[in-house]
Amino acid sequence: MTNSPNLVTPAGAHPFPHSHLLGLAGLQPWEMLYLLDEAEQWVELNRGAGRQSGNGAGKHDNRLAGLTQINAFFENSTRTLLSFEIAGKRLGADVVNLGVSGSSVKKGETLLDTALTLSAMHPDVIVIRHGSSGAVQLIAEKMGCPVLNAGDGRHEHPTQALLDALTIRRRKGRIEGLTVAICGDILHSRVARSNFQLLAALGAKVRVVAPPTLLPPHVDQLGVDAYTSMDEGLKGVDVVMMLRLQTERMDGAYVPSTREYFRFFGLTEERLRHAAPGVLVMHPGPMNRGVEIDGSIADDIVRSAVTEQVEMGVAVRMACLDVLTRSRRGVAGWPPIGAAA
């Protein structure tokens, strides 16, 4: 499945014929690449180099001016919410955030009623995070506007995988042919699931490394190789992606303690020597220094791409917001929603 992925958009195919971005499963490789390519321009703009918009100077573009973007986060988030908010504002959208505490969910309103309420406010794009796998898809079916999944349960977190891919591509120049090890709590991770889809589609070889209690059952059937030893799993890899281990899972439920975890599954200088020269270290954040990653590796600007990932996050989300709202903005070549597959 990692052999010669179809990376080129076939003649006549629309670059992104989807109304929503609910996950990476079901996207064609060239559609993923299209989003990455689109994100490149926003990296430049965000760095302050691009003054391409007629309306604003510096980090601003007005193509989403007049559109309303709702960030509905039914699960706590700081980084992703901030990233989506900045992405929307840099494109000129009117961004509104709805947090769990400010919503009627706590008052017993069903999720579908909340969806209908949000829909009635005529947003032009809605970004949703929810603690239940499949919840974003359920809401999307009731919304009259594009829906972006900002993480649903253990299912998918597509923009995170896209920003990871953009980071890798900018650092390594390619994704195809690389070996990527994803290490840590794979079982509960939507980031890992989205990355399986994306990295395999783009031709990387994916390994997962974790204690057996944190490996999802039958994960090998998802096209990844599973390891339970860090030294084995890191052998010759080009990229190491560390995942955050939730503290509530370290008190004996899945692993006995943080110190035992760090001793056998933490990323240390010594372990990293098994990887290929020039290995890139990534982490979706927030990091637990001394639990899953040694502080000195995280701070090493040559090998660590952690802050770059955050930077790419804004660019990727700008690209997604732009692409998904094109049909309602009447951009030539982007048929109205409903006409798209």
């Binding site: 069903t110 579908l112 239940s132 796998s133 359920l138 349960g153 059952p217």
Partner: protein
């Protein structure tokens, strides 16, 4: 009361093995005669040419008795699970439950095996039986403590009661909404291994063997679990197994796109297990087929998969789905009907499920080949079916309960 003569039907009585074109005469709420008989003067004649006549179905395990839905499905008696609000852990509640369906559908309640179905203290199952319970059940979940289960099975012998058990290891399945597998992993659903079932079955069979209790496993859905039941039956133990149609017709792929209507308990299994269920029905390891009728409102089902309530409406589709076993050669028509009539009647010692002279006049007439498409929004009762849109054959044309025609289509 006027006599009813039903003529022209193929009459199948799975209890006696009778299967022939015959006339059935009903009088005073009972079966008066079956065979090549003269229609007495003054009897109401029902022409059932082209239809099959069988005893009214006994649905051995529903969570709610919906009379209208039952009648549309040819069901005249239901065995009611104790998972009510409040749970049927008190003889007065059992007595009330028993009375609530009459006269249209007779409800045969199962008394809760433990207080509040919590799995800790034995409920008054002897008084429950005296109040009309036909068995004791652990409810939707297994009794986690082996000690409590052991005492329950031992105690049940004093009343010669069948204990109905939900066989899933409680700790392994805590929080799980799917069966472990590539499918659940891909969707990011909390999953429990399929062997959570065989683990529980192995324990329950061993405890039943140690105590001599009569044990009915309401749903056995895995190849491993079925093999344990097969071996236990071969040893001559009084153990029986049941199932509902979802487990031989659907597999784990039905939850694709997070279809919460396919969220069931136990969760849907691999296709290998699905095929094992079908084979076990064919060889008699599974002897009882029930609907598991579990009405849920759309609000309780249209939720994110893990938050949706488990369960499916099954009364109206039970016969048509069971007939799929006849069409694919798993069972003869008589054997398929037996799993829903004589078999549950024998298990729970119920009247009905037979056309013997003097039996209650509970009758179902159906067109074995009439095609239709399952559409939840056209159901008479609850609409939460995972089979929405599926074409089936076999339609109930008339249901007679205690000599009264209660459904005609």
């Amino acid at each position: 009361m006027k006599a009813i003569a039903i003529t022209g039907a193929r009459v199948i009585d799975p209890d006696s093995g009778f299967d022939a074109m015959a006339t059935v005469l009903l009088r005073d709420r009972f079966v008066a005669a079956v065979g090549d008989i003269a229609v007495p003067a003054g009897a109401e004649i029902i022409d059932a040419t082209g239809l099959v006549l069988a005893p009214g179905l006994i649905d051995a395990g529903v969570f709610r008795a919906e009379p209208a839905a039952c009648h549309a499905g040819g069901i005249t008696r239901v065995v009611l699970m104790p998972d009510q609000r409040p749970p049927l852990d008190d003889p007065a509640l059992v007595a009330f439950a028993q009375s609530m369906g009459k006269p249209g559908v007779w409800v045969h309640p199962l008394v809760a095996a433990t207080r509040d179905l919590a799995g800790h203290e034995l409920a008054e199952i002897g008084l429950g039986q005296a109040a009309g319970a036909v068995g004791a059940a652990t409810g939707r979940s297994a009794i986690a403590s082996s000690a409590v289960m052991h005492r329950l099975l031992a105690y049940s012998r004093a009343f010669d009661m069948t204990v109905v058990s939900h066989a899933e290891d409680a700790a392994l399945t805590a929080g799980a909404v799917a069966t472990e597998g590539a499918y659940a992993t891909r969707l990011g659903l909390a999953a429990a291994p399929a062997f959570a079932e065989s683990l529980a079955i192995a324990r329950d069979i061993r405890l039943a063997e140690a105590t001599g209790a009569r044990l009915h496993l309401r749903q056995v859905t895995t190849a491993e679990g079925l093999e344990l039941v097969r071996q236990a039956k071969a040893r001559g133990l009084p153990i029986s197994a049941g199932v509902t149609p979802a487990y031989w017709l659907l597999n784990e792929t039905a939850v694709a796109e997070f279809r919460s209507f396919a969220r069931l308990s136990p969760p849907l299994r691999s296709d290998e297990d699905r095929r094992a269920v079908e084979a076990a029905i064919g060889d008699g390891t599974i002897s009882v087929i029930a609907s598991g009728h579990d009405p849920r409102s759309q609000e309780k089902k249209r939720l994110p998969f893990a938050d949706a309530w488990p369960g499916m409406a099954g009364a109206e589709t039970l016969l048509a789905l069971a007939l799929s076993l006849v069409r694919n050669g798993t069972l003869s028509l008589a054997a398929a009907l037996k799993t829903m009539t004589a078999a549950p009647a024998a298990l729970f010692r119920l009247p009905g499920g037979t056309l013997a002279k003097g039996a209650p006049a509970d009758i179902m007439l159906f067109d074995e080949h009439a095609p239709w498409r399952i559409a939840g929004d056209r159901f008479i009762g609850a609409s939460n079916t995972p089979f929405d849109g599926i074409p089936v054959a076999g339609r109930v044309r008339m249901t007679i309960k205690g000599g009264e025609i209660v459904w005609r289509a």
